[in-house]
């Protein structure tokens, strides 16, 4: 495994509550990503980071924010969870350009919003 820990692994929350998912890496990799996985949609990029305090939006960023105050931690926050955000969330990391270094994924966080 590439030294990626996602927490929590499972979470059930109610609509309207804030939720923070954590991704912790021990590889000192520069790039970190948050994806969500839904049936029929594959993996869709939410936000990514290319360095400490450097983040940008992906294709499905609405309703999500991120923060990266340290190289090893990348947090994903749902400010006010909705049922449409029920999904499996994956964190991924890479050290270099994607052609030179593969994307390594964590084992995911299953989030259910009731």
């Amino acid at each position: 495994d590439a030294g990626i820990t996602q927490s929590p692994r499972h979470k059930v929350t109610e609509t309207g509550t804030p939720v923070t998912l954590r991704c912790h890496q021990t590889e000192n990799h520069r790039y970190m990503y948050w994806y969500r996985q839904d049936p029929g949609h594959g993996l869709r990029l939410i936000h990514y980071s290319y360095g400490v305090k450097d983040t940008d939006k992906g294709e499905v960023s609405d309703g999500y924010s991120v923060s990266r105050s340290k190289t090893e931690d990348f947090l994903l926050t749902l400010e006010s969870a909705t049922s449409s955000q029920t999904s499996v969330y994956f964190c991924a990391i890479t050290s270099d350009s994607l052609g030179n270094s593969p994307l390594h994924f964590g084992n995911g966080t299953r989030l259910t919003v009731t």
Partner: protein, 113 residues
């Protein structure tokens, strides 16, 4: 807007057969095309990847065929085994200020004994 289209959605193959999964892309700036394999309860893991300057890449029983003019690429699994049963994702990336990997919708492969 789906930049990488993958088919079929699901596939059932007998042990020893050939599994074929296809992907098509739109963005001609894509310059890296990996395939990822995912088992239940796990994150995806890189299986094999290709760049557009070659038409084929083979690693063991897994082969990527790439057709730049048609903007299509495919994964072939020869002598498919029950242990190959998993979900497979094609993907594509390019530099747009940073590297982002865009995934297809996935193919669930079942290899029957």
């Amino acid at each position: 807007q789906q930049q990488v289209k993958q088919s079929p959605q699901s596939l059932i193959v007998q042990k020893g057969g050939i599994s074929i999964i296809n992907c098509a892309y739109e963005n001609t700036a894509f310059d890296y095309f990996p395939w990822y394999q995912q088992f239940p309860g796990k994150g995806p893991a890189l299986l094999i990847a290709i760049r557009p300057d070659v038409s084929e890449k083979k690693e063991g029983r897994f082969t990527i065929s790439f057709n730049k003019s048609a903007k299509q690429f495919s994964l072939h699994i020869m002598d498919s085994q029950p242990g190959d049963s998993a979900t497979y994702f094609c993907a594509a990336s390019t530099w747009e200020g940073s590297y982002k990997l865009i995934f297809g919708s996935g193919t669930r492969l079942l290899v029957r004994p």
